[in-house]
Amino acid sequence: MANALSRLSRFSVVPPIWLFTAACAIFFSLTTENFAEIGNIQNILQQTSTIGLIALGMTVVMINGNIDLSVGAVVALAASLAVGLQGEIGMLAAVGVGLMSGIALGFMNGMIVWKTGVDAFIVTLGAMIGVRGLVFVYTEEQSFFAMDFAYSDFGMSSVAGLPTLAWVFLGFTVLMHWLMTSTVHGRNAYAVGGNREAAINAGIPVGRHMVINFMIVGFFAALAGITLSTQMGASTPNLGREYELWTITAVVLGGTKLTGGTGSIIGTLGGVLAIGILRNGMNLMQVPAFYVLVILGVILIAVLFIDRQVNAVGKEDVRI
């Protein structure tokens, strides 16, 4: 059994989380009436797009061997800027400022990690607390409402039968998949995460790749904040709390290792959808919300445990 599993994992191109995602989808299609309806699937895609966008960036940073805990705070900052500044500088410029704030904070995180050598976990933990503080300073604890109706219309709009935000997410998924599998930057990110010493010896500009990847996750966190606020037509200073945890959960479920060097965007997409489907499906089954959290926590550990078993068997085979 274990052997068969390991063989499966070796030859399957699809990350194993997709088996789980598919199983969940089938299970909920059979047990609930509404799960497989078009409307519900659109719903899932729209709901997962926020965490999904952040997860795309987080995957890259984690493959690189780092982590970014400040994404939730950046979500709030970008959303507050994009909504709050609309009255003064116009909608598009405000969105631009929001996105830039994410990229700038990512740059800062990356530079600090690179130049000081302090662990990314600590640096971004500091950023998570500090940036949240900045959000409260800027908003004075107020929620902002979008003045421009086009803003919230965008969040609710659809193109060719799918929510626009779902398209945004899927589009960026394809782009990031290409970045990680086909470009030198992507491959070097794997190399740095897989064996940092080796990367340095090989002359890979380790610091530069790291900073770029932090800027990428900053951009995606800001974008997620903005898309989330378009859905609500508003921003609140507490937006995005615990998003870093949900994002990391999705990325890890997708097969990316906290230690770096392994992982894929396709896996992350599977992880994001798995969480989205589970939440949505259990909701349809009317599982009380608190139990949903308990079940998700158990599933996270169970899935990683199974993954570990499968991979451990694979390694033993190779030693012969």
Binding site: V184, Y190, A191, N195, A198, A199, N201, G203, G261, I320
Partner: protein
């Protein structure tokens, strides 16, 4: 310079006729409190293998790091093809054709062989995309020239250590190199693979590449090098033409004294049988292994990497479960399910990889030594420092451990002393059967002899010792009896006193 004039007239003339390819001229490098390199001059001719020897800490690595651009020298100059060069980073050195093949395998296990070969210089096209076809074609060609038996698309994590070493070498060939530095290239290679490596070096020589060859292994240096330079305490102690010198002379230069003869083994055939293994089988790893180890006896286990040596040891220590066979300790049959059980039965295993399996590098020597028996040094869950200190004192003295003190971190010790800490840790559990897997891997010549003496002394004190090694001189020198493994099967058991190297090579090759 204190260079003895040992070149023959003819050779001297020939060397002078060729301009030196690379000259490290009077290099001095200071670190806080130490002069790592003191006025070191070293040159390489095109098409020459110049070996660099010295004990750990003699300055070899520092010299090579200066050459490769990792360190800047405080004084002195580097000339390549007659021109002075300065390097601020390894990349710059690489770009002018100086390539270092690292001792520590610096590969990315999750990536393919081809990606590793071109790490840092992936061929790229429009939008920075990787040209995969190009990458695999080029890598394939390099692997072919090296005669590598694995594909460029294979993941490095799936390769054996020896094959990874080949990837490391393949990597050097990407840049048409002028100077290649091999740092301990054979540390994990079998004899057959060494042969391939020497062929590669021959090929590089033929294309006028200059080669610096760093190794602890005397036999290799005499096989492969044209000249050799010995460093000790950061100074050049001599540059000799290899053909005109011998091992003793070189060893003397290295350690500044001559090595005393190895303690001769005394017959240990009359001790009681401590370990008796019958028909041990573990899947495809090894089959039908039977042998005995007596008290006071050193039994060597020799075979190629992958022949099942380490796996047998792991089984004895309860890390693997055998499907068939019987293990008897002091005559009574035992089932060993996990290491704690093995320890309580009087077994101890000094593992293959000291840094990964043997030590907690960030912990002190004392804490490392007491680690295997925290039960006996604690009462009610509280550690008794005095008991720990007692263990440290006893074994530091018995093993002649040279550490700054009990609180020195293991990471800061030399390889030989690290190994002593591991051995001390196991001796303190008062074992009756000691298994040592590659006890002197990566340890310099002086400490190696010390570890060998120690193994003999332990046997004399009544321990049953099983030594696993891939170094033939070690196995033949230290053992009373030698077991040869071939493809997971016992290919022979020999008395070390009458065993010849040829016979042993035949046995481990299945002849």
């Amino acid at each position: 310079m204190n260079r003895p004039a040992t070149h023959t007239a003819a050779e001297l003339a020939e060397l002078k006729a060729r301009a030196p390819l690379l000259v490290l001229d009077a290099i001095t490098k200071r670190f806080p409190g130490v002069i790592a390199l003191n006025d070191v001059t070293f040159d390489v001719q095109p098409g020459e293998v110049h070996a660099l020897l010295g004990e750990n800490g003699a300055g070899k690595s520092t010299l090579m790091k200066v050459l490769a651009g990792n360190h800047k020298p405080d004084a002195g100059q580097i000339h390549l093809e007659g021109e002075a060069v300065h390097f601020d980073s390894p990349m710059q050195a690489k770009n002018v054709g100086i390539v270092l093949i690292h001792q520590e395998l610096s590969l990315v296990p999750e990536m393919t062989v081809a990606e590793n070969i071109f790490l840092g210089s992936l061929p790229s096209g429009l939008f920075n995309t990787v040209k995969w076809r190009d990458l695999y074609a080029k890598s394939g060609r390099i692997l072919d020239t090296l005669g590598c038996p694995f594909a460029a698309t294979e993941k490095v994590g799936r390769l054996s250590i020896a094959h990874r070493q080949m990837v490391e070498i393949a990597r050097a060939l990407v840049f048409t190199p002028k100077v290649v530095v091999f740092d301990e290239p054979t540390a994990s290679l079998t004899d057959a693979e060494k042969g391939v490596l020497f062929e590669v070096i021959g090929g590089l020589k033929a294309s006028h590449v200059g080669i610096v060859y760093i190794s602890h292994r005397m036999d290799e240096i005499f096989t492969v090098s044209d000249r050799l330079t010995v460093l000790r305490d950061g100074m050049v102690r001599g540059t000799l033409v290899t053909a005109e010198t011998d091992e003793d002379a070189v060893t003397q230069l290295m350690i500044g004294r001559s090595l005393k003869g190895r303690a001769k083994s005394e017959a240990a055939a009359d001790g009681a049988v401590a370990l008796d293994v019958k028909g041990l089988t573990c899947g495809t790893l090894y089959r039908d292994i039977s042998f005995t180890v007596r008290q006071g006896e050193v039994v060597g286990m020799y075979g190629l990497v992958g022949a099942g040596r380490t796996e047998v040891a792991e089984t004895l220590f309860g890390l693997r479960t055998p499907q068939e066979g019987e293990i008897r300790i002091d005559g009574s049959p035992v089932k060993i399910g996990a290491p704690p059980q093995a320890i309580s039965l009087g077994l101890a295993l000094v593992p293959e990889s000291r840094k990964e399996q043997g030590l907690v590098l960030g912990m002190s020597c004392r804490d490392n030594m007491s680690m295997a028996q925290l039960d006996t040094v604690s009462s009610g869950g509280w550690l008794r420092t005095s008991a720990e200190q007692e263990i440290y004192d006893t074994y530091a003295k018995r093993l002649d451990l040279r550490a700054p003190g009990p609180h020195a971190l293991a990471v800061n010790l030399s390889g030989g002393n690290q190994q002593k800490v591991v051995i001390g840790k196991w001796l303190s559990t008062a074992p009756r059967i000691l298994i040592l897997d590659e006890p002197t891997r990566g340890i310099d010549v002086g400490s190696k002899a010390e570890i060998h003496d120690l193994i003999r002394a332990l046997a004399r004190s009544g321990l049953a010792v099983l030594v696993i090694s891939s170094e033939m001189p070690e196995i033949m020198g230290v053992s009373d009896r030698v077991l040869a493994l071939y493809h997971g099967r016992l290919a022979g058991s020999f008395d070390a006193a009458t065993l010849t190297e040829d016979r042993l090579v035949q046995a481990i090759s299945g002849l």
